[in-house]
């Protein structure tokens, strides 16, 4: 349950970006939220809604894109989607594999209002 901690990180990054881009307002923030990030999107949303009230981002809208995991097979090198553990390569039926996408949360874009 570290969604509050993550939402706090988001607010810190918004502050940094607002200053850097000399923005008047940040109207919208878009996240790429990996399914294997270890955090829950709906809890994150709730945390952000609560925390933003105390900041200059009261009106900032949050958009979350859920990113499906992409796994690279260590045996045949092909990339596949996996939703269950352990990862099973559908091409060569080898177990395991390396996550190449969908295990992190990225701040993808901002919609800003300039002076």
């Amino acid at each position: 349950m570290h969604e509050y901690s993550l939402a706090n990180n988001l607010i810190e990054i918004l502050r940094e970006q607002k200053k850097e881009k000399k923005a008047k307002k940040i109207l919208k923030v878009e996240l790429d939220f990996g399914k294997l990030s270890g955090a829950e999107p709906f809890l994150f949303e709730e945390a952000f809604e609560i925390l933003k009230k105390e900041t200059e981002f009261k009106e900032t809208e949050l958009k979350i894109n859920i990113i499906e995991p992409e796994i690279k097979c260590l045996k045949c090198g092909k990339i596949f989607n996996a939703l269950s553990f352990p990862f099973l390569c559908p091409f060569c039926e080898n177990f395991g594999g390396e996550i190449i996408k969908g295990d992190k949360i990225f701040i993808k874009s901002l919609v800003i209002e300039n002076f």
Binding site: M1, K24, P86, K104, K108, S109, L110, N114
Partner: protein, 221 residues
Amino acid sequence: MTKIIKEDISIPILKVNEEIAQELREFFNKRKIFVINIISSPGAGKTTFLEKLLSFFEKNKVFILVGDIETERDAKRIREKGGNSYQIVTGGTCHLEAIMIKKSISLIPENTEYLFIENVGNLVCPASYDLGEHLRIIMLSTPEGDDKLPKYPKAFLTGDVILINKIDLLPYLNFDIKKVEEEAKKIKENIKIFKISALKGDNIKEVAEFIKNKRKEYFKT
């Protein structure tokens, strides 16, 4: 006249933690301190394991940072066994972050070769936070049940070593140790597994040797 524009930025939400972890790793490398991050559920036996492990190291070369939500108990337990330990009280935070380690590095004595970080008891959140470690140990204990791996895959995916603790209790439990080993290999082919009893001391020496060899390997000049 205001202007509304969309900007693509692609910044990881844990950017700050990643930067500090990298900075820590560089600091540890310069000082040749080998860092081990230990993650498990509460009560799996991390502190007992570290107490036992200490006896296979020169005590003045080991420093232990312990993360807990409240109390100094675990660090005190390690100090009573002659170990050098400092408690990080997180005050409600369910994991350790790189910044908490950074605030404590001034406490690490000059001749330290091994830094063990006993993370907050939690198999979920600590998995997402790089602490600048060189080796990540995930511990599970037999009374927790044999379905921990599929339930908490992220922790095991990020681990280098799995310790199955409390094997002395196997005769009393319905714990399929073979199944756990097979599942671990399927999740991560090259993961190293040790079956230990921290309380009785079974196979702790082997874990100590493994860690020492890993340090040698990492810092070979």
